[in-house]
């Protein structure tokens, strides 16, 4: 303070208190707006505000950690996993520097999820372990459950990444089965905690992924049991997307149990929900599944009906590969009914699409 009473900087190059104060307020305002935008799902705009907040800067390292973390999550939702990794790494380093153990646990969890999507499973496991260890050390049951769920997801993804397309569920190589069994163990450990906590939403998520794990392990009855629980919880919450997923996964499990009529009923519910949710891609997938199911039931008239529905949507969505699949299936169904002209028409369409999309194996099959 000079003799006139005004505030001056001690050194000319350092921002004065009120400049630094304004910068802090600006950073905070930008970050809060970024947070608001991300909350409503506008991640692109949210990222802009968070990046601007970083440019302005802050001396509050907890605020900086939150900005890094939310940037990482925003990029994750935008499927820019390289950027997500960058910011979650920044957050992890920062939390370790300031000794924020809970923050480090969260950063580890987010980093683990990001590494999983990038296929870097061994590194993801290390992050999950750190998340779990800290949660146990600070007696954070919720954190422990979340870490166990992430662990399950990493091992599930690892198993899927190794399995080759020629094998059926339950017949994958041993390292795949090992990874999937580990995934199931982690999901079960998670379930034990989230049931104790009464967290039904978390139970729903875990049952869904546990069901998928049992499916890949060839444990189709257990898959059904898990997906039924997932379905029940989805209905409790009125979560129609989750309900649709559960019906679809149940349909898949019943196919492998050879119970095609029951599978068809589940796929029909999937289709109904897809229409309610106005999700055309999922509607197309449900029609395709129903077409295939009725083929297995040797009800070719119904199969054709659903494959035609699938074809129409694939055309609307400019999905040439989907169109190709539909034509192939329609050709086979018409052949089964002895409709040779129709069969030829769809076989030719299938061949044309295979050539266009560069599907060599499809083209060879079509020529046969």
């Amino acid at each position: 303070m000079d003799t006139g009473g005004s505030v001056v900087s001690m050194r000319a190059e350092e921002p004065s208190f009120h400049v630094r104060y304004r910068m802090e307020v600006s950073c905070l305002e930008l970050a809060l707006e970024g947070e608001r935008l991300c909350k409503v799902g506008d991640y692109r705009a949210g990222v802009s505000f968070f990046e601007a907040a970083i440019q302005v800067g802050t001396e509050d390292l907890q605020v900086l950690s939150a900005i890094y973390s939310q940037l990482g999550n925003a990029y994750f939702h935008l499927h820019d996993y390289a950027k997500a990794l960058e910011f979650h790494r920044h957050d992890l380093t920062l939390t370790r520097t300031i000794g924020d153990l809970l923050g480090e646990a969260k950063a580890s969890g987010n980093l683990g999820n990001t590494l999983k999507v990038l296929g870097r499973f061994d590194e993801a496991v290390v992050c999950c372990q750190r998340h779990l260890d800290i949660a146990r050390d600070i007696n954070d049951k919720v954190g422990q459950a979340r870490a166990l769920y992430n662990f399950g997801n990493v091992y599930h993804a690892k198993g899927k990444s190794i399995c080759w397309s020629g094998a059926e569920p339950g017949d994958f190589p041993e390292e795949v089965m090992t990874a999937l069994r580990k995934a199931a163990e982690y999901y079960e450990a998670n379930l034990a905690i989230v049931k104790e906590l009464g967290d039904r939403a978390a139970q729903g998520r875990t049952y869904g992924n546990l069901g998928n794990t049992h499916y890949l392990l060839g444990n189709f009855r257990k898959a059904v049991a898990s997906h039924e629980q997932r379905l029940l919880i989805a209905k409790e919450f009125g979560d129609r997307s989750a309900e649709r997923r559960a019906y679809c996964n149940l349909g898949n499990a019943y196919i492998f149990l050879g119970e095609f009529e029951i599978a068809a009923e589940h796929y029909k519910r999937t289709l109904q929900l897809a229409r309610q949710l106005k999700d055309r891609a999922v509607e197309a997938q449900a029609c395709y599944s129903l077409g295939n199911t009725y083929t297995l039931l040797q009800d070719y008239e119904r199969a054709i009906d659903y494959h035609l529905k699938h074809l129409i949507i694939a055309q609307d969505l400019n999905d040439r590969i989907g169109e190709g699949r539909a034509c192939w299936s329609l050709g086979n169904a018409h052949t089964a009914l002895g409709n040779h002209d129709q069969a030829m028409h769809f076989a030719e369409k299938h061949l044309e699409i295979c050539r266009e999309t560069g599907d060599r194996s499809g083209e060879l099959t079509a020529r046969m």
Binding site: L28, A31, L32, E35, Q62, V63, S65, A66, I67, S69, Q70, N73, F76, D91, G103, A105, K106, A107, G109, N110, N113, K116, V117, R146, Y149, N150, N153, H156, K160, S165, E168, P169, A202, G204, R205, T206, G208, N209, G211, N212, Y215, L216, R230, A242, R245, C248, N249, N252, I255, F256, L257, G258, E259, F260, S289, N292, T295, L296
Partner: protein, 46 residues
Amino acid sequence: EAKSSAVASSQIFHSDGGEMEPETMEIKSVSEYFTKMHMGSVMSRQ
């Protein structure tokens, strides 16, 4: 018999292992941090 049907079905159904539930990302909220700080300073004044 169910197994032999399942063999045929796997050739038709590309098994991608089913639709997964979403990941759970941890949240660090700026607004919550400031709310806690504000509550903390109010409590300490009392």
